[in-house]
């Protein structure tokens, strides 16, 4: 589904991603861990197509398409979803209107008519239930005045609404209390199928108790320096990242 080869990314001339390879297949869950500032969010942004990054080398192929050639919105329409580490507020734009617009853009892209009102409301209702988010929240403006945890839940709510093929969840677990964490994890697990895939970026092994990854990768100074299974996450929790530093140098 997603194939990243020898990716190099620079910001303002400074290389952040330095030769990264990653293969993600349908049905898989990948976890990416690593110290602060090693390029995890940068990788997510580059896949999603945020401006301001120079891809100096390498390729990203998504379902046979050269992703780097596609404009940001088309990547989303192709099924890539980014759960933001810091979701932004959009005052005055209701969640309802935002979701309907996004959903209808998606349908238009796939040659479908706009979603009928009844069907849309039902979908909202289902997605709300999944992440146990109050309809008071979805009636408000996008993220406006949402607490940190509410914003994160709202990301998973949107994921449920848009049913992406590849979801990249950037530290969706940070700032969540334990109950919220379970809810978010349950949401992700319920949405999981053999047709979609998930990349979770996290600092904490505890999330992986709820969302069990098929692979765990350690991103360090712009490269994946070690990959393994759930056990690797436990090891990291125990030992930190220092021992990897020694190993890679």
């Amino acid at each position: 589904m997603l194939s990243i080869k020898n990716l190099h990314v620079a910001i303002d001339g400074k290389e952040i991603i330095r030769g990264l390879d990653l293969e993600v297949k349908a049905g898989e869950v990948h976890a990416i861990m690593g110290p602060n500032g090693t390029g995890k969010s940068t990788l997510a942004s580059v896949i999603a197509g945020k401006e301001g990054y120079d891809v100096t080398d390498g390729e990203i192929i998504f379902n046979g398409k050269d992703l780097l050639e596609l404009p940001t919105e088309e990547r989303a329409l192709e099924g890539i979803f980014l759960g933001f580490q810091y979701p932004v507020e959009i005052p005055g734009v209701s969640m309802t209107n935002f979701m309907r617009t996004a959903l209808n853009e998606q349908r238009k892209y796939h040659g479908l008519d706009p979603i009928p009102a009844g069907e849309f409301l039902e979908r909202m209702e289902n997605a709300r239930k999944l992440v146990e988010i109050h309809d008071k929240l979805t009636n408000r403006s996008v993220n406006e005045g949402f607490s940190g945890g509410e914003k994160k839940r709202n990301e998973i709510f949107q994921m449920a609404m848009l049913e992406p093929t590849l979801s990249i969840l950037d530290e969706t677990d940070s700032g969540l209390d334990i109950d919220a964490l379970k809810v978010v994890a349950k949401g992700v697990n319920d949405l999981k199928s053999d047709k979609n895939a998930t990349i979770v970026i996290t600092h904490y092994q505890r999330l992986l108790d709820y969302i069990v990854p098929d692979f765990v990768h350690v991103l360090f100074e712009g490269k994946i320096v070690k990959s393994g299974d759930k056990e690797l996450a436990m090891e990291l929790e125990e030992k930190g990242y220092e021992w990897l530093k020694a190993e890679t140098v």
């Binding site: 999603a48 197509g49 945020k50 401006e51 301001g52 404009p71 940001t72 919105e73 989303a76 329409l77 979803f81 980014l82 933001f84 979701p87 932004v88 959009i90 005052p91 005055g92 734009v93 209701s94 209107n97 935002f98 617009t101 996004a102 853009e105 998606q106 892209y109 403006s141 996008v142 949107q158 848009l162």
Partner: protein
């Protein structure tokens, strides 16, 4: 708007071209320039009673002693008032056979605005098949109004048929010499609308200038007078969201509203005159005087405006709150893009006791444009316990445009409260990226964000107008980012 209502609107407006009362009047054009003869010519052509001619001449005398206002934050090229034709027969648009003959770019804009096919045809001058009998629809509409004793007609008609009402109220809110452009308008006004709602009557329909009896050729120096008698209510819509082109560069309209005791008038405008091209060439200068007088106790006047057009806008819909407990409101969205300039706002003059006013102004600037809010809240000494709340927000798209706020406050007593809030914000790259990441393209994203920003104002508009206005905001800002 329901389709039926749409059809009726179309039919009635088309009716004007077919059955309008201009068709049987022979029309000439006045020679260029402005002098007493021009004014006598206009008045004679309109077969006006003596009082009207006198008013025009008085205004002209006054105008000659006045100077163009120069206090606005506008760069107005010199206007040669002797190079203007002040009276011309309304020109008929060339009749086209089908929409295929119309500029495709214009049609694309119409589609984006969601303007019905029939309406598109009317606006571009394409012949339309009559679905209804236009005359009967129009008659039904007029019947409904007259059953309630409502007078709604062209200003010229009112001068002929209701001279007492015109004499009594015209100039009672905007005096002849109020300002340069109002004086000019009074001297040379061409036509416009007149509306009178009798005591205790709630006008059952939204009165729209769509229904204007003589829509062609009255645009340049338009004159509108709305009188709501005691306990009456009316909602009045002016303009339309479709782009309007006009060869006349200078527009100087006057709108006067009078609300007597317990009366309420809602006046909504969408202004989308030609703004000039991307380089700032051409475009309409819109210098408008709009003022309402809450004359009686407990009366209320609300102005709502969505301003997207014109090269230069100079416009301050205002309220004089004379009656005790009267209420004035001003809700405005002003968009400027490319090289447009707007200096707009409101003036609330509190004279009666316990009077209340609200000003909500949302300026949106893009391109190289300049957008200014200018407001005056004046509370007279005797206006005890009065309140004003003003909120003036500016949204900037890009870094070559300007937003300015000039709020003036003058409080004459200590029991009144005046509050003013102002913010300036930008659409951030992160907001745009968030939308794009959800599959919403840049143009749609800007539309969403801008409409969210202007929501407080848009929801004051009548429903069907609001939907069109939302689309208009998005279309006006196309190509302004990215």
């Amino acid at each position: 708007m329901s389709d039926d209502k749409n059809n009726i609107l179309d039919e009635v407006t088309q009716g004007e071209y077919k059955y309008g009362f201009f068709t049987d009047i022979e029309m000439d054009t006045a020679p260029k320039g402005l002098n007493e003869d021009t004014i006598r010519f206009i008045s004679a052509k309109k077969k006006e009673p003596e009082f009207m001619l006198e008013l025009r001449l008085k205004a002209f005398e006054k105008w000659k002693t006045m100077k163009e206002p120069d206090w606005a934050h506008l760069n107005i090229p010199p206007i040669d008032y002797q190079d203007i034709i002040y009276y011309a027969a309304p020109k008929k648009k060339p009749q086209l056979d089908s929409l295929d003959d119309v500029d495709p770019e214009l049609l694309a804009t119409f589609d984006k605005l969601g303007i019905s096919l029939d309406e598109q045809k009317r606006l571009t001058g394409v012949a339309v098949d009559a679905v209804f009998d236009s005359v009967s629809v129009k008659t039904t509409f007029q019947d409904t109004l007259s059953k309630h004793g409502i007078i709604f007609c062209s200003f010229s008609e009112a001068v002929q048929n209701h001279p007492d009402l015109v004499k009594k109220y015209m100039g009672s809110v905007v005096p002849t010499g109020d300002n340069y452009f109002a004086a000019l308008n009074t001297a040379v006004f061409s036509d416009g609308s007149f509306c009178y709602i009798p005591p205790g009557v709630r006008c059952p329909v939204e009165l729209s200038t769509y229904f204007r009896i003589n829509s062609a050729g009255t645009g340049q120096f338009e004159r509108t007078l709305i009188v709501a008698d005691e306990g009456a209510y009316v909602s009045y819509l002016e303009g339309c969201t479709a782009p309007q082109r006009d060869e006349n560069q200078l527009h100087a309209a006057v709108v006067e509203i009078v609300a007597l005791k317990d009366a309420e008038v809602k006046y909504s405008t969408v202004q989308n005159w030609y703004p000039g091209d991307k380089n700032g060439k051409g475009g309409v200068y819109n210098f408008v005087t709009k003022r309402g007088m809450c004359k009686g106790n407990n009366s209320k006047i609300s102005w709502t405006q969505v301003e997207t057009g014109s090269a230069i806008t100079w416009k301050y819909p205002s309220c004089v709150l004379l009656g005790d407990n009267s209420i004035g409101e001003f809700y405005s969205v002003a968009v400027t893009n490319n090289h447009q300039q707007a200096d707009t706002g409101s003036k609330m003059t509190h004279i009666g006791k316990n009077t209340k006013s609200t000003i909500i102004s949302k300026g949106i600037s893009a391109g190289f444009s300049n957008n200014s809010y200018r407001g005056l809240v004046k509370i007279a000494q005797r206006a005890e316990n009065s309140r004003n709340f003003s909120q003036c927000d500016s949204l900037l798209l890009g870094d070559k445009c300007g937003a300015h706020t000039f709020p003036y406050i003058d409080t004459g007593n200590s029991s009144s409260i005046v509050e003013h809030e102002a913010t300036t914000s930008k659409i951030s790259d992160d907001q745009l990226f968030y939308c794009l990441q959800r599959g919403i393209d840049t143009e749609k994203a800007i539309g969403l964000i801008v409409n969210g920003y202007a929501k407080e104002v848009l929801r004051q508009l009548p429903m069907e107008f609001a939907v069109e206005a939302q689309k208009l905001l998005a279309v006006s800002l196309e190509g302004s980012v990215g």
